[in-house]
Symmetry: C2
Subunit: 262 residues, 2 copies
């Protein structure tokens, strides 16, 4: 069968059961009538969500941490977590936790992945699903300081409670990848920002230094920044121009992506 002459869509319009199946009669003898009973027979496990909330301040990437209130961890740091309520959407639970801890709910929040190592919680098996967020520290003064809630530099993380070091690192890698493919960064700058601030942010998150001219050219060629004809104020050097990100245009054009590269 030839392919080259077919449009790509053609592949996706064909019926393709393998022959093997047609030689077997369907097995309909043991259908389960009571789904609820089936589910009751499953083992169950406590489920939590951990929110890894990154912020940016003084040109450093930070992450919001508390001291674990488990005595066994002896004051080690932990990310913000809580259990998921019965019949609560996972995403909703994540936003609830974020709101409970920071008062914010106008922040994107993405699921990263589940962590379920049986020994990860000293009190028994607990599955956790990590969510990741990025927000502007100066937009969210911490009103609660229970458990020593604070922004901690990502670069100086030592031991943490549970497997939270691993979770933070997984989220950090996820973030590094994500910020290169999506305009996350603008969520953690002020509404108006200078190109220098934008570059500092990328450099801090990616852990690299970038050529200033090339960086500016890159964003200029994307044509997604709006020059608002304002300048920085109160800086101890020549003030830079301020921009806004053109979210509308970004949403319209999105990403036409094909590019094998590994």
């Amino acid at each position: 069968m030839k392919n080259r002459d077919h449009s790509a869509l053609y592949f996706f319009e064909q019926t393709t059961m393998t022959k093997k199946n047609t030689t077997h009669a369907p097995h309909e003898e043991h259908l389960i009538k009571d789904a609820a009973e089936l589910v009751k027979s499953y083992p169950t496990v406590p489920l939590t969500i951990d929110c890894v909330i990154f912020g940016f301040e003084e040109n450093k990437l930070k992450v919001l941490l508390i001291k674990s209130d488990l005595e066994i961890f002896n004051g080690k740091l932990s990310v913000l977590g809580d259990f998921v309520n019965d019949n609560e959407e996972l995403d909703d639970a994540a936003y609830r936790i974020l709101k409970e801890r920071t008062g914010m709910n106008d922040v994107f929040l993405d699921q990263v992945r589940a962590f379920g190592h049986p020994g990860r919680h000293p009190g028994g098996r607990v599955i956790t699903i990590a969510y990741c967020s990025l927000l502007n520290i100066n937009h969210h003064e911490l009103k609660i300081h229970a458990n020593d809630l604070h922004w901690h530099s990502v670069s100086t993380l030592k031991e943490m409670a549970f497997d939270h070091k691993e979770i933070v690192e997984a989220c950090y890698k996820w973030l590094q990848k994500r910020i290169q493919e999506h305009p996350l960064g603008f969520n953690l700058l002020a509404d108006k920002f200078s190109l220098r601030e934008l570059q500092n942010l990328y450099e801090a998150i990616l852990g690299v230094t970038l050529d200033r001219r090339n960086f500016r050219k890159k964003f200029a060629s994307m044509d997604l920044l709006i020059d608002i004809n304002e300048m920085e104020q109160d800086v101890p050097h020549r003030p830079g121009k301020l921009y806004k990100f053109n979210f509308e245009k970004y949403e319209k054009n999105k990403r036409k992506w094909v590019g094998i590269d590994f």
Copy 2:
């Protein structure tokens, strides 16, 4: 504070507690001594894993499905799932399920994400974690045909049981992205393969047509294919050269990745 003159690493060597913390005494009054009791107080939920196993045959991408044995779904299709045993690693559970259903365990398997919509299972709330795999259909004859296990064309999926349509689609998107950044595709070709086979695979998975010369140049420039000086046999046209993928070299060189693009 200036950044431009510092190496990237410098950012990651600094201590950065915010001032806010130092103005608050630690709250040590309510430490929890009994972690097990704490965990016992959490709600629990059944946890399953669903394996979305993609295969490639006759230039079409397929996915391994069974008929749901829940009467309520009336024979609708479902991916391979099972609950996670007590104290079983999530990854282990995924490999166990894959092995139970296909007999295989030399296949990569990656977690995609968790699905936890409260209404997704008719028997009550069940959280599932989707794992995704890609394998060579011809390496794995299906020995079990319980529940009408079969390879189903990805392009003709209709309604499915549970939220499995959503899960398959999420995994398909994940796969499309993943195969462009990682050499997954070689797992589902024979050990020796022609460039045409490789291209067919990419075209089928990505749903595009690619220019043959450019495709070949791309892989030639990567220099990750080993020309084994053999030719295709028994093809009804001019035979092509056969290659192997140089996994060793790939592993050594990996990916030095920075490239903002959205």
